[in-house]
């Protein structure tokens, strides 16, 4: 018997894969709903996402889509068209390789060569670029990773960049993030897997042959998959770990009278605190009774001040004609990313205990990284179960 602590996307993917191989799996979730930061709650007729932006970074071609297919879960993903636009000096420019100056591309290859023997932070490369390319790079980092260029090394960035070139841009799952979670839950239960909501794991003890979890009483398992991050996992074992910083972000959900973007891609915003926005109701009108625009802003420090800046910038870009449905901030114990992109820790926590999900991602963005991390974690766990 295998236990999964936390019914987030990583936990549910892992549970499904193991159940498919014939293992008995039990998932324990502390909150009253599954999906963690990759689902939505209905509010005033809109599917307000709990974290993610109702987008899958590499659409129907990426690692998550492939893993869902492997599990046998059917989710329709509408690939964004255009993939992205960049708002530069009041003009929307479709993001293609040819909009960037040749000089910037040459500098990229030069930095790539340097990175082979010297791993510098990305801001050194960013500051060597022309204003246009630099602004786009910063918006891209803010939108997709909630980080600034000084937070990541060129090598780590290149890993993510390669994935983006290989699989290309985003897609929107029909039914939003919640549809993916609902399908995973239904599929797991159809294979005999169990999900317990509002059941908190309060302790973890390990011996050579098994792992014990304190649920209502101590219960034995052959292996444990933790979907609650390294920090909480350690705390449940009575230990402490030193972690790199988390990444923080603010998400605004707006109701509009008329579509503003009028497409299914991302609008990256140049030289502002807000990094980008999407309008997912253009791909799936059932995600809201009206037009739903989501805006994402990374931030450091105090949320309230960042929100004031963000709202002012939204009015500059979108106008004043909107209803603000929700402002959600994510930091500290409920962040955008438990560990900044590029700094993720390994998937093996201890013998028989692996970590999946946010904080244990493979080399890719957000949920794509989660999908890669899950496969890595299960490979490791199989040594013991």
């Amino acid at each position: 018997m295998i236990a999964v602590v936390g019914a987030g996307l990583g936990g549910l993917l892992a549970a499904n894969l193991l159940a498919k191989e014939g293992y008995k799996v039990e998932v324990y979730e502390r909150l009253p709903f599954p999906g963690g930061r990759f689902t939505s709650l209905n509010y005033k007729g809109f599917e307000i996402s709990t974290g993610a932006l109702h987008m899958i970074p590499h659409g129907s071609r990426g690692p998550l889509a492939k893993l869902l297919k492997k599990i046998g879960v059917r989710v329709e993903i509408i690939d964004s068209k255009p993939e992205g636009e960049f708002l530069w000096n009041g003009e929307r420019i479709e993001v293609r390789r040819r909009v960037f100056p040749l000089k910037a591309i040459l500098k990229f290859y030069k930095e790539l060569a340097i990175s082979k023997f010297k791993d510098r932070t990305l801001d050194i490369f960013a500051n060597s670029l022309d204003d246009f390319t630099k602004a786009f790079l910063n918006s891209f980092l803010g939108w997709s990773l909630s980080i600034y260029s000084e937070d990541i090394t060129f090598r780590k960035f290149y890993e993510i960049f390669k994935q983006t070139v290989k699989y290309r841009g985003p897609g929107i799952p029909i039914g939003g993030c919640k549809a993916v979670i609902d399908e995973l839950v239904e599929n797991l239960e159809s294979m005999g897997g169990k999900i317990y909501l509002r059941k908190e794991v309060r302790g973890i003890k390990k011996s050579n042959e098994e792992v014990k979890l304190l649920i209502e009483e101590w219960k034995c398992f052959d292996g444990v998959i933790s979907n609650i991050g390294h920090k909480l996992t350690a705390e449940l074992m009575g230990e402490k770990v030193n972690l790199p910083e988390e990444s923080r972000g603010i998400k605004y959900t707006l109701k509009l009278e008329e579509p503003f973007l009028e497409h299914t891609g991302v609008l990256f915003i140049a030289n502002k605190n807000i990094a980008g926005m999407n309008e997912v109701t253009n791909a799936d009108p059932n995600l809201g009774k009206g037009v739903m625009l989501q805006v994402h802003q990374p931030f450091k420090g105090d949320a309230r001040r960042a929100i004031e800046d963000g709202l002012r910038e939204i009015r500059e870009v979108v106008g004043k004609n909107f209803e603000l449905l929700a402002v959600q901030s994510f930091s500290r114990d409920w962040p955008v990313n438990r560990i900044k992109a590029g700094s993720d820790l390994g998937v093996v926590f201890k013998e028989r205990i692996v970590v999946v999900g946010d904080g244990a991602k493979g080399g890719d963005i957000e949920v794509e990284g989660i999908a890669l991390g899950v496969e890595k974690a299960l490979e490791e766990l199989r040594r013991w179960i």
């Binding site: 709650l41 209905n42 901030s329």
Partner: protein
């Protein structure tokens, strides 16, 4: 009802409150006049910052 300092402002409490008693801008603020103490915000808070 009380919101502790470690509230991150994720607004799950606001989204599930049937009585529109919660506003969130960086931190949750509960309007005691509208609140009926159903405790839904307490069980949906992922960081256990809302106390009944």
């Amino acid at each position: 009802m009380r919101v502790e300092d470690h509230c991150v402002g994720c607004a799950y409490c606001m989204l599930v409150c049937k009585f529109e008693a919660i506003e969130v801008f960086g931190k949750a603020k509960i309007n005691e006049e509208k609140c009926v103490k159903c405790l839904k915000c307490v069980i949906y808070c992922p960081v256990k910052a809302v106390k009944g």
